[in-house]
Amino acid sequence: MFGNNRLPAFHPGLTQSRIRDTTTGSGLWFPGLRSPPLPSESDPANDQLPLPITQEDLYDTPMAPFNPYTYIRCPCSELNPYTKRTPDVTAQGLSRAAQDDDDHTFDPRAARSNYSLYPLEYLSFCEDCHQIRCPRCVAEEIVCYYCPNCLFEVPSSNIRSEGSRCTRSCFQCPICIGPLAVNHVETPPDPNQLLSPDHASSSHSGSYILSCSYCNWSSTEIGIKFDKPNSIHMQLAKLRNGGETRLTAKERKERRKEQASQGGGGGSSTGQGEEDLDTLLDMETQFANLKSFYQNQLSDANGTGKVGGDPSAALGNLGFDAPASLSRIMSLYTGSSSLHDKKSKSRPGTMREALAPSEGLQLASLDESSAITALQDFESTTGLDAYSSTASTSQLQSQAPYLGASPLHGLTRFTSSLRPIPYLLRTKRSKRCPQCRHIISKPESKVTTTRFRIRLIAGNYIPTITIKQLIIPGLTPPPMPNLPPDTIEPLKPAQFVLTFKNPIFESVRVTLATPATTPGRFPAKVTILCPQFDIDSNTDVWEEALKDNNATSSSSQSQNLSSSTGPEGSGPGGRKRAGTLRPGTAGGASLAGEELGPEVGKVWERGRNWTSIVIEVIPASLVQTAKRDGRGPIKEDEDVLEIPMFVRIEWEAEAPEDEIMPGLSSAKGGNKDGGKEKRELAYWCVLGLGRVARTL
């Protein structure tokens, strides 16, 4: 791609910092850190984002250097069918959003627009509908499930039964979410065993731990050790913090069955019913008990069992007796538990409430004084800070729901009660257009390959927009001395060069429109000097590449593509000032035009498959406006000059073969030149030009 080294030849006045920010091949760059979207942007100058920030900067000029960016608004957000239902809803004040949408131009500052704006790299393109598709408006299908840590594929049947986390030995550190490794610990030899002759065969129980290599956390801190180095997930499920074992749901069910068979019938169930109410159920058990209780009640109340009332049977059949469970199953499968029957079944009184822990009733143990004293005495007992003994909110939020916890609503408080987080599984997804159902993106189904079989990304279909500030040494007034770098001076015209680069093999006509003043609190006057222009096609890429590199070898496709444009794309720069290309403008005049700056209605610069135009903005004064309108101080990002721009692209494409059939083809404009079809695409985009200085 174009190297940055060429730019100073054309803009000798550009400072180095401006080059860093603005001149890259397809130059999308967003506030904040992210890896460059295209390899061409990986020049080292781009990577110096986090500049050393002084203390003063932190609070007053908050942000890191600004990089101009382009966001594209997916058209799908315009047509929410529900908010368009204006007439009757208006009275309720429900349709404010709909009214706003209809007439006004797009406001990038509106609260909602953040949800519909995407960088170009995130957008796909449906070739059949000729429409941009954003992550919100594609239908997804799952190709495979895998664990991001061990990269094992998980069959989809396991997802439903085992949950959406890795059930092998992949865990994240509960403190720092780093990956945990299974380590063998040498248990310090027991002195008694040392004395004994066969101390070599000392028990290996509990001799594996999970440990984090980043923050040195290990599972010994929560008192958990494992017997085996594999299938940690299963072992962990049976252990409470502190090493106490716990019954899993399946074991509990079996145990209950045993009890039932031992006790036999009514006797056992009444015995269970009068179990002491203080039994602490963990959440999983309580849920299971409740579920079975309700199912029993529903089936009993259904009248299958005991309307006539053999009391002993009714009392005894709390799910352990064959006929009742049979009837329950029958009622489940015969559909008698459908919605309508529920009403007749759940006549009050016939379905009672849970009365015992075995039925899911759990008395609250409100006494939390032990936890309080633990919190208070933490420092005195352990010498550590009580504050750091508690888990932070983010640590708690990243915990997997632990069903083994006894209520207190599953929330833990101390770091000692955190548990290793099994890795969430991930998916590979293929995407379809929701309308024509064509596949937009389909990855390889193997977990470890990153290739895609199909991937229609929007960057291959719609022009990219690159922004850089235009500074002509003779013409642009020098910036105010006390201006922070990389900011735009308020109340003074600033000019920006927008470079549109055409990715498709047809030449494209672009029409731009923008509101005269930007919407929002700090309106800036915007003028597009050349709102309509053409971009040449992208066909001769190989030829130019060959010429540039003086390469001798040529690939196969290059030959047939390169014939179309001869003289224009030649020259090492491959780009020319618009003046030289414009008919009727002499070469000398073009030089003069350079001196004079951009002209209205004229393209600024043009190259092989790109065209630059100039946009002029006069930003409002932030400070004065903020003082005047009384809407408080300047909020985050309100000082960024963002311009909504409506882009309309027209091109003539070869109609796909199945559409050349007579009668079918004229869907989008005339069918001329034998299979040429006129296409257009229109969308809003947002240009982030720069920060406006908070001076004046």
């Binding site: 058209p75 309720q92 849920f287 009392l315 919605l339 209520p407």
Partner: protein, 646 residues
């Protein structure tokens, strides 16, 4: 170019009955050929025809659903909407698969990674400007004025999408959804959320389930007093036989707690906070940090009879002689009495160890990173101020900011006798505020205390005490009698109403409320001596109730174990999400099941309040907010149930 998918539910495909025209056509053809065939052949033919008649028109457009959509139909998705987070999971699971918290990161543009920038979090100030401190962390506020409803929809969509892709790992096939929604949710918000769900996720139906009822279901009870210590407000809802019968609310909730924590920390940092709680407040710490500290360290002091905590300067209550005298004042007057009651009630309480325990809290979001050292006594201050404000007298609060314990008491007090008897022994605490250590016990004890002091009598205070104790007041006896009479007569009216209007035996007979008084082993036992009114009612001979007798006969299980009532008791619930999961798993229908097509056509305005839904007897007995379960006749008119209609 709407994004709507041509999805059809399986029920539609199956149920696509042959249209009358096709049927008549086939029969016509049959008639033509009938002469050549015997009857058996014709029957077979008709069967074939009918089969093709159902199936062929059902698939003219190639539906792009794979047959596996059959399986997807089974997966019901339960979404529990909270102010700070949504919980999403499959019906039948015991816990949600994913909990998505709302936060500013979600509201950023995609591809905007400034969150990862070093020191970005130092910059919360510019975000918090203009009264936005912490607003980004909420899905909605009950005050919908000036709220961008579309943004609420966007937030819902983004959160549900995150739950789908990150936690549940499901594709975008349409699935039926069940939304567990707080009852008091304003219709615009509900409508925005539903709009977003229907538009983006295309569920065939969305059912609405009220969260207090779901909480009760997840506790295994039919009636409960659900104390939802939520984010925006604390809501006390009485659920009786799976119906919400009364709701009371106060602004004392999680947000207030966070703000109080901020105020406390700011004070510790030496910032003088103006005491007005408006938006102009200057924030010195970030919301995140305050919330974190509130979650970690703030705790609640156990109940003590002398209401003024030592750390606070004892403030005088409202001046004497203004309005009703309050309980605190009588405390001050007769300290001996209160002390004795205290020792009896809080005998189990361990006195806190005397030396003040100190902890160090690092604060990073201030102007310069620092740390403050506070005692644990001080750390209970925010909780104290948020939920109790016990330095003020109970009569000095506005209706919207009643302390939580008083709110619970009033909610119970307002209930009819029999409902109260059931609800008071099924108090369920839910919501985020339950994580404050000791808060639940404190509220519970405070309520016990109030009940002990006042009984179930709305009239209280000095005047009443004087009336009761002063022998010189001759009128006392007579007046007592009259109140008694009126009260009991009203009770009787109530009872007769019940028995008359609920032939189905919807409510347990009033005899239960008698048991309420007698069975009260805990707090209300002592209330009997002070307050005569309901005591007398309880002593009256219970009427014979044929319905109860019949119930006892048909349901012998209830004979042995009478549901406990009349005794203050707290029980544990698995929370609204689990309740939704349970009800959905058990295929219990909800009142409000919204069909996608209907919503697409009419939106929220299509919802009707069907009079048939709200049974007449229910209307009489429970004057408002009657939650109607079942009784859906046909699909055509649909309702939003408790949430009303636009």
């Amino acid at each position: 170019m709407s994004a709507s998918l041509p999805h059809r539910s399986v029920a539609n495909i199956r149920g696509a009955a042959p249209t009358s025209s096709s049927r008549s056509g086939s029969s016509h053809r049959e008639r033509e050929s009938s002469s050549h065939r015997d009857r058996g052949d014709r029957d077979r033919e008709r069967g074939d025809r009918d089969y093709s008649g159902t199936s062929t028109p059902a698939r003219p457009i190639p539906t792009f659903n794979t047959p596996s959509s059959l399986r997807a139909e089974e997966e019901l998705i339960v979404v529990d909407f909270g102010t700070r987070k949504i919980q999403v999971g499959f019906a039948g699971d015991s816990a949600p698969r994913g909990i998505v918290w709302f936060g500013p990161e979600q509201q950023r543009r995609i591809g905007d990674f400034r969150d990862w920038q070093t020191d970005y979090h130092q910059d919360w100030r510019s975000k918090a400007a203009g009264g936005n401190w912490g607003r980004d962390y909420e899905l909605w506020r009950p005050d919908v004025r000036g709220l961008e409803l579309g943004q609420v929809g966007d937030k819902v969509e983004k959160a549900v999408r995150e739950a789908y892709t990150k936690y549940m790992l499901i594709d975008s096939r349409p699935r039926r959804m069940v939304c567990v929604v707080p009852t008091g949710l304003p219709i615009p918000l509900l409508s925005a959320a539903l709009d977003s769900l229907f538009h983006r996720f295309q569920p065939p139906t969305v059912s609405l389930l009220s969260s207090p009822v779901a909480v009760a279901v997840a506790a295994g009870v039919r009636s409960a007093l659900v104390v939802d210590l939520g984010w925006n407000e604390t809501i006390v809802t009485s659920v009786y036989e799976y119906r919400e019968v009364a709701t009371k609310r106060t602004v004392r909730g999680g947000r207030r707690l966070t703000e109080e924590t901020h105020r406390f920390l700011a004070k510790e940092l030496g910032h003088v906070q103006r005491d007005n709680r408006d938006d102009k407040q200057e924030y010195v710490l970030s919301f995140e940090e305050c919330h974190d500290i509130a979650n970690r360290l703030v705790w609640c002091k156990p109940f003590k009879a002398e209401k003024t905590p030592k750390s606070l300067p004892p403030q005088p209550a409202t001046p004497e002689g203004e309005g009703l005298a309050t309980v605190e004042e009588s405390d001050e007057d007769k300290p001996t009495i209160t002390i004795t009651t205290t020792t009896t009630t809080t005998a189990g309480e361990k006195p806190l160890p005397p030396p003040p325990k100190v902890t160090t809290i690092p604060l990073r979001s201030g102007r310069s990173p620092t740390s403050v050292e506070v005692t644990f006594d001080q750390l209970s201050e925010p909780c104290e101020n948020t939920f109790f404000d016990s330095q003020y007298s109970l009569s000095s609060f506005d209706d919207h900011e009643i302390p939580v314990h008083l709110l619970v008491y009033r909610a119970l007090l307002q209930l009819p006798l029999d409902v109260r008897a059931l609800c008071m022994s099924r108090i369920i605490f839910s919501g985020g505020g339950t994580t404050v250590l000791g808060l639940r016990k404190r509220i519970f004890d405070e309520v016990c205390h109030i009940v002990q002091e006042r009984g179930w009598d709305p009239v209280y205070g000095k005047a009443k005490e004087q009336l009761r104790t002063n022998p010189k007041l001759k009128k006392r006896h007579g007046r007592h009698q009259t109140t008694n009479n009126s009260n009991s007569s009203s009770n009787n009216n109530n009872n007769s109403n019940n028995t008359l209007t609920t032939p189905g035996g919807v409510s347990p007979p009033t005899a239960a409320s008698g048991a309420a008084g007698e069975g009260g082993t805990a707090a209300p036992a002592s209330g009997q001596e002070e307050d005569g009114i309901w005591h007398d009612a309880a002593n009256s001979v219970p009427e014979f109730d044929p319905i109860e007798a019949q119930l006892a006969r048909t349901n012998p299980a209830s004979n042995g174990r009478k549901p406990l009532q009349g005794q203050l008791r707290a029980i544990e619930s698995l929370g609204p999400w689990a309740g939704g999961s349970l009800t959905t798993h058990l295929k219990v229908s909800t009142v409000s099941t919204i069909d996608k097509d209907q919503w697409t056509q009419h939106g929220v305005t299509g919802a009707t309040v069907r009079q048939a839904d709200v049974e007449a007897k229910t209307q009489q007995r429970l004057s408002w907010n009657a939650m109607n379960r079942g009784g859906r006749e046909g699909k055509e008119p649909w309702t939003l149930g408790v949430w009303g209609a636009a």
